[in-house]
Symmetry: C2
Subunit: 199 residues, 2 copies
């Protein structure tokens, strides 16, 4: 019997993607739902909406609230939280490496290592050294960063972002159960429930 | 012993404010928390962010998702749902009448009557006849609409919206426990919990 599946679409620069990434292994296992990790880039999707940066920067009241909300939620989950500088971080390299890593068992460990480096320790994830450390921490082979920079993998990342936009994604994290879209860390449990009922 | 208090800041045009308004009496009573209903207008706050209409109209992917999310959540709450035409509705008259009604016991019954007219039956809440029917349904005296249009009450509504903006509100519904802000229907339970712990 196959388990129901939830697609987890995330962007490394996204604070709420951090919360979902960290609690997904536990809540999905409890629910008995399989998770497909799908990295993508919000930049092109925001640009198509006329935004040059994160809405949390464009709309200061919303940004101030977001960091307070994140602090409350991270504390409740027992997660560290700092505000990366700059915000948002450039998650392109991390996403490309994740795209390769997720083709292997336990590739999601790399994703969590990146999120922790960024949001718990305030490291700059556009730094290739930081990403190499995360890859090593997750037990990935040393050539994974070179593989991530291959033309084929760059194209795979572009296609992932195009797929996200085509399927109606406008923010991160987003969850799909089939074509049913759920947006936001606060919809994670609802997406899992939906997968169990309809997946 | 006084009960902890949550302020419920809502805009009649806001779909998620409808969900909160309908379930607030039950969930707040269960929690033992007192609710202060605070109508305000999102229009001036959106305008200050450079938006001429609802972000659900400005960003179509977000708007399509919102209506699907609303349909799922309304169904789970056993609430009717239709998309008002036009959307967003002009909630100015309703807010002014609510401002008066909420000075009386059970003024929130008027607010729920307006939300049901708008989102369950698709009536136009800028229509004075619709608002008069809602007032009658809530047992308000016939002169409430005249009182709502008084210069003093118009000023009170402007002050409420200014207070919302000054305190950092950028969307609806929003909840305050003291100065602690919670945004969105999906933060209602968290706001109640916060009131019990810190209120």
């Amino acid at each position: 019997m196959t388990r129901p599946v939830v697609e987890f679409w995330f962007e490394f620069a996204s604070p709420y993607s951090y919360l979902s990434a960290m609690r997904l292994p536990s809540v999905a296992a409890t629910a008995g739902v399989e998770v497909r990790w799908r990295p993508f880039l919000l930049g092109p999707i925001f640009a198509a909406q006329g935004w040059s940066t994160s809405p949390f920067n464009l709309y200061p009241a919303k940004g101030r609230y977001m960091w307070r909300d994140m602090a409350r939620r991270a504390a409740r989950l027992g997660l560290g939280l700092c505000q990366p500088e700059p915000f948002p971080q450039n998650g392109l390299l991390a996403a490309r490496v994740a795209q390769v890593a997720l083709g292997r068992p336990d590739g999601d460990a790399f994703c969590r290592a990146v999120f922790l480096a960024e949001f718990a320790r305030g490291q700059d994830i556009s730094d290739a050294g930081v990403i190499a450390d995360c890859a090593a921490e997750a037990g990935l082979p040393e050539d994974v960063i070179d593989a991530a920079q291959s033309e084929a993998n760059k194209q795979a990342m572009r296609r992932a972002t195009e797929e996200a936009e085509r399927r109606g994604i406008f923010g991160a994290p987003s969850f799909f159960v089939g074509d049913e879209l759920f947006w936001g860390d606060d919809r994670l449990q609802e997406a899992l429930d939906w997968a169990l009922e309809h997946g």
